[in-house]
């Protein structure tokens, strides 16, 4: 029934060509960034032609990012803030999701709707008031200010609750007859069984916290408190001969995320598609 217009291997080669072209287009900006970071800034900028490959490579540019661009300090801030937020969101989401999935309490449906309603209130909408609150609490330029507003996540509650609801009722009944109370059931049965969902959320939570820009920008003005992302702002203001250091910092900023992406690809896909794809 199917007539091949061209032999199989020709079609495959055509696909490879197309895919390679698309991949080149997608990677081109990253490649140029790598070129810019590695090349000696004087040679590369003023050398006529600005070649699309690195010239006079200076590998120490990454080390210099740590010293000159305070990347080390920013890394510490970003890492600490991200760690606190991820752990906080994981704990609050698991506890709240447990309540929604396994505990019968009054007004449960209303409270769930209320929780989900916060998805409509992103930080962009509440920024003006929240930054005021932080100022009033004297939490500017502090870990509290950077983390506390993000210690809970409606998305996390949603995802983990889905996972908990998928635990077969029989297992809950068996645990009840085995004498398990809520905490024991949560720790010994519910969490181990839904580990993949929780892991997916942890990855998403990490991505959001690590890449967060608006909030740190709003409540920190002391450069000692810059996160990695905020530190990148300076790149646009750097002189031509310092640009490579700033660009190197940008690459370093994306590195942990890239590692997480490669290692936890499946978890990311699961987390992102929880709402988008059926089945």
């Amino acid at each position: 029934m199917q007539t091949d217009a061209a032999p199989g291997w020709v079609r495959n080669v055509a696909w490879y060509v197309l895919l390679t072209g698309l991949a080149a287009a997608v990677l081109f900006p990253i490649w140029m960034t790598i070129v810019r970071a590695l090349s000696n800034p004087i040679t590369w900028s003023f050398d006529r032609g600005q070649p699309p490959y690195p010239v006079d490579i200076e590998w120490d540019v990454f080390g210099r990012a740590f010293d000159e661009a305070s990347f080390g300090r920013q890394l510490a801030v970003s890492a600490t803030v991200t760690l606190i937020i991820v752990i906080g969101q994981m704990v609050t989401s698991v506890l709240a999701a447990y309540a929604f999935a396994f505990v019968d309490f009054p007004f449960k449906r209303t409270m769930f709707a209320v929780t989900m309603a916060t998805l409509m209130l992103p930080i962009e909408v509440t920024l003006v008031a929240n930054s005021r609150t932080i100022r009033e609490l004297d939490w500017t330029n502090s870990f509290e200010g950077l983390t506390v507003p993000f210690l809970a996540s409606a998305l996390g509650i949603f995802l983990v609750r889905q996972g908990f609801l998928a635990v077969p009722r029989d297992l809950r009944d068996a645990a009840a007859l085995d004498g398990y109370g809520h905490l024991r059931f949560l720790w010994r049965v519910a969490i181990p069984i839904t580990r993949p969902v929780i892991a997916a959320f942890v990855v998403l939570s990490f991505l959001a916290a690590w890449n967060s820009y608006l909030w740190p920008r709003a409540i920190t003005d002391d450069s000692d408190w810059n996160t990695i992302q905020i530190g990148l702002r300076a790149v646009a203001n750097s002189t031509a001969d310092q640009l490579n250091v700033g660009v190197a910092a940008a690459l370093l900023a994306a590195l942990p995320v890239l590692i997480v992406l490669v290692l936890f690809q499946r978890h990311i896909v699961r987390g992102l598609t929880a709402g988008a794809v059926k089945g």
């Binding site: 309490f105 809520h182 702002r233 660009v247």
Partner: protein
């Protein structure tokens, strides 16, 4: 019986308490406060405020600042979402096949999700910045031209969204059951017809989700402007959130608050409208 209900209520609310506290303090209270601040005018040091009422809402929401920001934001969304979805489909279709090494391409196409908005801004700074960027002739992505700067900003948005769009669309494509595609093949559908009449309808829920999500993200555009253009040239890229960000000082707090509420309403309306309009064309399997 009674004590069981009490125990359950205590347990349930006890478990919810930490999350609820955060939501109350940093989502609901600020919402109320933003609305409230929008009804007042602050003095320069923020120590005093006076009531101005709903007038401030009508003034600001119909004023130039808000309308201008809304227009710039709308341009950003219109430039990034449709193109982004289409490119995502193209990449996902291309990479959804059994070829040796296809995983490599899939990782490459997903990779832009690793780039935060700030990092993406730096990447395109490297390409587009007038004096030191690689592209000495940036064509329409001209950061110096007030009429065209938004295209440059939109480009960063499209590129950054590629990874996310690709991952989600690919998952949607892979969820199309094999046997349906085989049935189409036996029915005589060639690859293009099969895609248009079978695959595409079956991924419409995914595409709907994607376009609503990208639209909402687009309406919140801030970091790329802050890093790449600083709002310029001459305020040509000042999105709503950018304007809101710059109105945290007491004197502009009232205006900023109204714009925040405006953003909230716009986002809600656009998302709902989009969902409502597009959902009719979405095909849900069974």
């Amino acid at each position: 019986m009674r004590s069981r209900r009490v125990r359950n209520a205590l347990a349930g609310y006890g478990l919810l308490a930490p999350a609820l506290f955060v939501f109350a303090a940093f989502s609901f209270y600020p919402l109320w406060r933003v609305i409230w601040l929008g009804l007042h005018e602050q003095n320069r040091t923020g120590t005093n405020q006076r009531w101005v009422g709903v007038n401030q809402y009508t003034d600001v929401l119909t004023g130039e600042e808000f309308r201008g920001g809304l227009w710039i934001t709308a341009q950003f969304v219109l430039l990034t979402v449709p193109i982004g979805v289409v490119i995502g489909i193209l990449l996902a279709v291309a990479a959804n096949r059994r070829l040796r090494g296809i995983k490599v391409f899939q990782v490459i196409f997903s990779s832009t999700i690793a780039s935060s908005t700030a990092v993406t801004a730096v990447i395109f700074f490297v390409l587009l910045e007038p004096s030191i960027g690689y592209l000495s002739d940036p064509w329409i992505f001209d950061l110096l031209d007030p009429d065209r700067a938004i295209f440059a900003v939109a480009l960063t948005g499209v590129w950054q969204n590629l990874g996310l769009t690709f991952i989600i669309t690919l998952a949607g494509l892979q969820a199309v059951p094999d046997d349906i595609l085989e049935a189409a093949r036996l029915d005589g559908f060639g690859p293009i017809r099969s895609f248009a009449r079978v695959t595409l309808p079956m991924i419409t829920p995914t595409l709907l989700f994607l376009s609503v999500a990208l639209t909402v993200f687009g309406l919140q555009a801030f970091a790329q402007i802050d890093v790449l253009t600083g709002g310029g040239p001459a305020g040509a890229t000042e999105t709503l959130v950018f304007k809101i960000f710059n109105s945290q000082e007491p004197r502009q707090l009232g205006e900023g608050s109204v714009m925040s509420v405006g953003l909230f309403l716009v986002t809600g309306t656009v998302a709902t409208l989009q969902f409502w309009l597009l959902e009719r064309r979405v095909h849900y399997a069974n």
